[in-house]
Amino acid sequence: MFPELNNLLNVSPDKPEQGKFTLLCDAKTDGGFLVHHFLSFYLKANCKVCFVALLQSFSHYNIVGQKLGVNLIAARDRGQLVFFEGLKSTVEVLFGSKEQPNTLKFIRESSSDLKSLYEFVQKALTPSGDGSATSWKFPVLLVDDLSVLLSLGVEAVAVLDFIQYCRATVCCQLKGNVVALVHDSDQTEDEENAMLMNALGHQSSLILRAEGLVTGFCKDVHGQLKILRRGLLQPKNDEAEQWNTLLKVIEIPCARARI
């Protein structure tokens, strides 16, 4: 996790916020670092995390997680992390035996329904009644990313329904958090994506937007990060900051430049 980002958000692994829905978006740059940040943040905060990774493999997150100071394999083994690998499940759905139930069976069928994915999340995050598990702080659902679901033929309404169900279960019932990444494509006419983004932005309490620089491409500064907080008590707080990540294999990231 990035300590500078924690300072900006006024959170720390000791006292994270609860019951929130955070929306991550990126436009013209890659917002994947935000996903890595939140994954390592919640693992360090001793929360139970259900990570739905649709676009990259487990080893990718594991290697980046090691650079950020968390060990995903160990977290998975002790039950703190439930990792759903979309790519692997898809291959199993299409080329494996057809009898076994699978959470991604919507790929095979034309009907776009994310109910099975929701049931997977629910089973993963609802604490089992046996009491044998060590107590984690609160459950967190992390999704990377929702735009892929649109590419797979799921309708935007179905994705919104899925997020609504997840929020009801995770945020309200279990007092946990939901974090989701959506790619912003404001230059292209992707209406479904725009609708998804607007609706999710309306439901969220915190929006983190990673954008490319307005003036064009620069090698040293990757872009800017906008933080929008929507809460009942605080007025809308719009901070635009320049950030600069220089990441090396040897050192822990990152150096930031403020403007």
Binding site: K28, I63, V64, L68, V91, S147, D190, V249
Partner: protein
């Protein structure tokens, strides 16, 4: 400096490459490579998922996997890379194409240069001894293989390049710069042999690869008209019939030939190079290129997603050319880009108004690197220039940085400066925003 190796065995590279290779060989404990947490096998991270016995250990698995012909670990993050066939393109992509990823080429208007890059990729596979899988709906893959360029040896390359340069200098004498002489030393992006990478090869486009070399190559063929004998109405997995067949074919080759590590007794690991030509064109039965609101809008994107899953779990690299200039719906283009790892777009000047522009008179087209993947790290190795142009000489295909010509007019007049600004606008805006309007800073 050692001579150009042919790509077999371990490709050694000077400078930063060597310490990494040594460190990957020694045990993981205690070396300075580890970040927070000290990971073991720093190299070949995609291969970690492959169930090779002993790959969990740091040294042994890494050394064994690294000895695949025609590959090298990335300097930045130890990712296993293969060459795309053009060393200049490898340099732009951050060293090469990562194993387990997809390279998407957005075709130029008449599919001249993109098919050339496609052939370079396949030729590189043959020269390195990789297995090929060629799929096409338009031409028989056997015919594609007959047209591959011939690999050049070390000394021949210098001759070919000098030929090209002397040909140019006959038209206009090469004036060495007197004032801005430092600019003459800037690299032109052409990586010659003996200067940088050792694992790419050079090809002579004017000659064909010899029959013996092609016969010795191991390759699998997927020609759509032969595979689809009858048009079934049932579409399984809500995918186009042709795409479904292709996916099943690829999956069969991967599992039968052991590219996904399912056959650990196989003594020598190899890379599978997959090449799919003109995906998304109407010949594949897809209508995204024909209609503004296509009926099967998700067919190609689902195909790319499943292909990504197959690539990630196997030792393969894939190149796909897509005629994206035919796709009317821009949303589909952006979705296709998001689902691919590396995206390169080609824009040729044939028939466009840019042909007459003096800025472009030496080149045949522009090349845009739209996307480079961030694999196993938070950053990627982006080149610092976005203005790249290519030209196809008689024998070689070169990619160069684009520069504004110097303003050599005697009278500094407003109108000539405006022309310069106009041509400056042709340069790539980078992140998509045009900087500045018609005004320019007057020094």
């Amino acid at each position: 400096m050692a001579a150009l190796t042919t790509g077999f065995g371990r490709a050694r590279q000077g400078g930063a490459g060597d310490p990494r290779e040594y460190k990957a060989e020694t045990a993981a404990g205690g070396d300075k490579l580890g970040g927070g947490g000290g990971g073991g096998d720093r190299g070949c991270s995609f291969l970690r998922k492959v169930s090779v016995p002993g790959s969990g250990g740091g040294g042994g698995g890494g050394a064994r996997l690294r000895s695949i012909a025609g590959t090298r670990p990335s300097v930045q993050n130890g990712q296993l890379l293969v060459s795309a066939g053009l060393p200049a393109l490898d340099q732009l992509l951050g060293g090469g194409l990562a194993v387990g990823t997809l390279l998407l080429i957005e075709e130029d208007k008449y599919n001249i240069y993109s098919s050339l890059i496609f052939k370079y990729f396949l030729a590189e596979g043959i020269v390195c001894g990789h297995t090929l899988l060629v799929a096409s709906a338009k031409e028989d893959p056997g015919d594609i293989l007959q047209e591959l360029p011939e690999p050049l040896h070390d000394d021949n390359y210098k001759k070919v390049l000098d030929e090209g340069r002397s040909h140019k200098s006959q038209e206009e004498p090469e004036i060495s710069m007197k004032i801005a002489w430092r600019y003459q030393n800037l690299p032109q992006m052409e990586a010659g042999p003996g200067t940088s990478s050792r694992f790419g090869h050079y090809y002579d486009v004017s000659k064909r690869m010899s029959q013996e070399v092609i016969q010795s190559a191991k390759w699998h063929k997927f020609f759509l008209p032969e595979e689809i004998t009858s048009y079934a109405n049932v579409e399984s997995c809500a995918l186009n019939h042709g795409y479904t067949k292709l996916l099943h074919f690829i999956q069969r080759v991967i599992s039968e030939q052991g590219f996904d590590g399912s056959n650990p007794q196989k003594k020598q690991k190899n890379i599978l190079r997959i090449g799919i030509q003109s995906l998304g064109s109407p010949l594949w039965g897809d209508d995204i290129c024909c209609a503004d609101t296509p009926e099967h809008m998700h067919s190609l994107t689902r195909f790319l997603y499943v292909l990504r899953g197959l690539l990630r779990m196997s030792l393969s690299a894939c190149i796909i050319t897509v005629p994206s200039h035919l796709i009317q719906n821009k949303a589909v283009t952006s979705r296709i880009r998001n689902l691919s790892d590396t995206v390169v777009g080609l824009e040729s000047f044939i028939g466009s108004e840019k042909e007459a522009n003096s800025l472009y008179k030496d080149y045949h087209g522009l090349i845009h690197i739209h996307q480079i993947p961030r694999l196993n790290s938070l950053i990627c190795d982006v080149s610092d220039t976005k203005d790249l142009a290519f030209k196809l000489q008689r024998k070689v295909f070169t990619i160069e940085r684009l520069h504004l010509p110097p303003d050599l007019s005697d009278t500094v007049s407003r109108s000539s400066k405006r022309d310069l600004v106009e041509s400056a606008k042709q340069l790539s805006p980078g992140c998509g925003m045009m900087a500045g309007g018609k005004e320019h800073l007057d020094f």
